[in-house]
Subunit: 142 residues, 2 copies
């Protein structure tokens, strides 16, 4: 994929929570059945995690862990799921998703067919406060 | 989940390629449409990546990267997919999967419905040599 055609080169890719020289964190809204869904996106266009130098890999995973930790402490989900796939958009990004026992696919991955529907309104109401807490946590990371 | 009931506490979880004090690497055969599929499994029963100390997280990701690097150099896949989900078996394990443009779900995640079938025989023939190269690479990791 030519970076000129890459949606993660041309746009933030979601609601911007944090940005630094290496990466940004966004909350995504393209998967409405999973509202507590953030992505940690490398700023530059690189496809594979192993193509990064070790210090950049560590920094990315430290940020992924910070997002996961906050999801766990604030939302008490059944599980947090982490994934770096990039088959459609080969621009390195980590999915960090809070999963709940009553969500659309649980315990299957979010990419599996839906097993049920649920009302996400109460969870959605908590997201602005979660965004603010996450922004603060990421600013305080070393 | 009680560790006594956990399949990743009771078994290796696949064909054992490498084991050290912290983790093991296995090739899995539970997803036959994706034969070049390895898992990096923490030996002890911990659910969430963020529950590990930083040095253990780094070691795990260094091993994930070593597996990814070998898949890329040996198989030239379209993409490598990384994921730590654990909704069914909440015992920390990283999926490392070589994806090909003609595989069952590409470019969708491997957990999405199959789009096509393919003959994996030629890929399967390469796996014993890949296992051997991976074993060597992991023994040589710092």
């Amino acid at each position: 994929m030519n970076p000129a055609d890459c949606p993660l080169c041309r746009t933030d890719g979601g609601l911007l929570i944090h940005r630094d020289a290496l990466l940004r964190v966004v909350r995504v809204s393209d998967t409405p059945e999973h509202p507590a869904f953030y992505r940690v996106i490398l700023n530059r266009h690189v496809a594979e995690f192993s193509a990064l130098p070790a210090d950049e890999r560590r920094r990315l995973m430290d940020v992924v862990v910070a997002v996961e930790s906050l999801l766990l402490s604030e939302l008490r989900p059944a599980k947090v799921n982490l994934a770096s796939l990039g088959n459609v958009v080969p621009h390195l990004h980590w999915h960090v998703v809070a999963r709940f026992a009553d969500d659309a696919q649980f315990p299957a991955p979010i990419w599996a067919p839906a097993l049920r529907s649920r009302d996400t309104a109460a969870l959605c109401e908590r997201l602005p406060a979660l965004d603010a807490a996450l922004r603060l946590a990421l600013q305080q990371l070393p």
